[in-house]
Symmetry: C2
Subunit: 267 residues, 2 copies
Amino acid sequence: MSRYSAAIAVSRSGEGQYKTELDPGYLIGTAINGGYLMAVLQSAALAESSHEHAVSSSFHFLRPGTGGPADIAVETVKSGRTVSTMRAVLTQDGRPTVTGTFATATLESSAVPEYAPTAPELPAYADCAVFDPRAEESPASEFSRRVELRFSATSYHRLTSAGADPVPELYGYVRLPESEGAPEDTLAFLPMAVDSLPPVVMVFGTWRWAPTVELTWNLRAVPAPGPLTFRSRAEMVSDGWFDENVDLWDSAGTFVAQCRQLARVGR
Amino acid sequence: MSRYSAAIAVSRSGEGQYKTELDPGYLIGTAINGGYLMAVLQSAALAESSHEHAVSSSFHFLRPGTGGPADIAVETVKSGRTVSTMRAVLTQDGRPTVTGTFATATLESSAVPEYAPTAPELPAYADCAVFDPRAEESPASEFSRRVELRFSATSYHRLTSAGADPVPELYGYVRLPESEGAPEDTLAFLPMAVDSLPPVVMVFGTWRWAPTVELTWNLRAVPAPGPLTFRSRAEMVSDGWFDENVDLWDSAGTFVAQCRQLARVGR
């Protein structure tokens, strides 16, 4: 079992009840990464479903999570032949941290899309730049070593020019480090991948904490192993709220995931 | 009270319990419009919240709804100073039809966006075309008289060319008929507006039933009264699934709502 698979594993402790030990390696400062929590919730929801994939997953974040023990309760809201709907709640110390509602189904891995967005053209992985402002904020944090992020030259410039070129659109690659994941982990990594980038509003100035309130992502195809290409965009920043839209393509150029979150602009 | 307000009204029947009578005027064929169900669920969720607005709302559709009595159970998942999270389930004959999870907060109606998408430039309302394939499918259906839809000339062509110009992007206007709604209804109309258009995949051929599995929409600003400008787009159609992304601007050109749904392509 890879380190990533071990980190998102859950064990059944009763009827619809699961336990896990959240790995503090996914902490960013004092709060655990939301994508990691989503991946753990997905493990529990899929363990209870007769379908293989979480095709649409909606999360509401209630309070910051931390490392250590957590309980997950899973309820089958509706069991269906094509789609089953599951609800999962992760609690720590008896208080709910995040709730997820999942539409589960089984996608055909050989499906050929009738219509799909073309993958962005990016330089090769090795020619994209490493950048993670969170590594500077919390030098002790392991997080920036748990997820590998690379940015195109334009995106790197947008992130580092402190608001001089404020276009909220970033391109690059995201993957599990080779030492952390196995090729078959790509599917289980998607919930983390859609919520592992620095907040796109960083292009408007310096990095600030940006707590997610709601996030929904759709699985559109079963990904091939390898790095994922991302595009992250904001449509609106207003009244202390912003949206972040992350789209992912696999190493074969197939559109595999679309995600939107609504978050607060930190102070 | 306008006819629209009466149609989405709920009455409290107990602790977190509401009742309503679903208006069969919102039936499309034998199933009630999902947007109407979302508007009703929102009425109940906001009645229980100390905040004024549902800023992010995620719905999972379990089975088709119909006209007549319905019960709504609302649970406060977390009560907060800035954001409260509510869950609401609508049942008919004791079976859940749709679940909604709401992040509620209070938006500042005079907020000036720091960054926002510009409204599409469209011809005047009166110069856009009426088109509703559902009116032909079910001539007895009142639905196409409960919501007024107008399409730009290009969009009208895409919808009526039966797949000859298959660009899944449509523009136009949506509003409550003047006889149905009052100016102050615009905010409560938004959940209906984001789910009242003909399925955008219609541009690939003739109209088919397209059941929504999951839909999340975000309220980004309090709308001014008047017609809403819409843009509806699909990013991917594959393996029997498609996404429909509906964005709305108010009559003053402010971006007010963003919505994405994952739906099945009907047979």
